[in-house]
Subunit: 217 residues, 2 copies
Amino acid sequence: MTYSEENYLKAIYHLSLFQKKGVNTNAIAKMIDSKASSVTDMIKKLAEKNLVEYQKYQGVSLTAEGLLEAKMIVRKHRLWEVFLVEKLDFSWDEVHDVAEELEHINSEKLINKLDAFLGFPTEDPHGDPIPNAKGEIKKMDKKLLSELKLNQKSICVGVKDSSSNFLKYLDKQQIALGSTIEIIEKESFDASLIVLVNGNEMNISNKIASNLYVKTV
Amino acid sequence: MTYSEENYLKAIYHLSLFQKKGVNTNAIAKMIDSKASSVTDMIKKLAEKNLVEYQKYQGVSLTAEGLLEAKMIVRKHRLWEVFLVEKLDFSWDEVHDVAEELEHINSEKLINKLDAFLGFPTEDPHGDPIPNAKGEIKKMDKKLLSELKLNQKSICVGVKDSSSNFLKYLDKQQIALGSTIEIIEKESFDASLIVLVNGNEMNISNKIASNLYVKTV
DNA sequence: ATATATTTTTAGGCAAATCTAAAAATAAAT
DNA sequence: ATTTATTTTTAGATTTGCCTAAAAATATAT
């Protein structure tokens, strides 16, 4: 598979997590940062190879084979992210672009050895699940902080938005994966929250709370 | 720089270590496994970018800029090889192809962090020198085993041929980097040697001895 | 239900990297 | 020094992945 084919599969995979029907040509174009016509071309090629199911004008979906391929790319991406953070001291907002390149390195032995070296992690530095060698994904029951009940103790387990901007904000506020979080007051006017993060009281906007995943404890 | 451009630079670099004049079009074609006409095309492109010096029919050589680029690719290749062997338990005959892909990953931060993680190694698993971040290469005074004097104690510091075949042969004979080697007899008829490797007597053909680097002690 | 807007596809082209085959330059050999 | 052989370059095609612009299909709105 080419670099480009892999990127398309990955994009379709990510989009299909939110869209149960076929994934739109335009949505793919936006994610890949290309044009709808290019997407149509590539989709035809992927359909030829039996990696996607494609009906003209009806969007695409991954075949079983395509899904597995996509998961393997995601697996590689996230394992490399763990490597960068745990072993090479990258911060969680720096890993994405490099992992975007590393995910295309093609060696099963490499990725499985890396997996073992890292201790078979199940989540990446942003709390996203890492598919295992068979493509199985352990899903965690997490919820958005904005959906958490008052006075319910929880711990931070992931982010929805993993943009560098947001991650740096969290660093500044000393919010990290594993931080304990509890809502002690909800402001109905702007839906902002007063929370305890590791015991420290702070104010958090709704936008932040809508991008932080927590697990109740 | 594209993947392909990097491969050409690397090929020219390796060939120019043996050939002090301009490197031949045909030699490059053979190394890259392509055709002379393709090489001519690419060379023109690299000359445009000031990475090589090129005169029609006279071969190519690297400019200062091209040389540094080439060394950085070699640096990446060899650092990844160390990583694969030291951290992921690859054997020395398995690393080349994967490193061939990894060497194109483009992140200075990554490679310098990796370098530090590995403890700033100066040689790769085959005994080849690793350029440092400035492109400096610490050269070791090594010689071929075939050039070693009788009864001169030495240690194995590298291989000239790093084909999987040869490396597996060395594994089988329990010859590795760091093994002590001493010639105790030279057979003039076929130039084969009787040697002590870590104290064990064994017979070694001239071809083997001409592909093993040693350092006298 | 028809007109309007949006999305998707087709048609035709472009740039990069490669190739084959022929021509030009250089090297080797008698 | 010519001829012969080899190497290198040019010319013209091909493939991949992308593009723009126009046409076709689908969705939306009055």
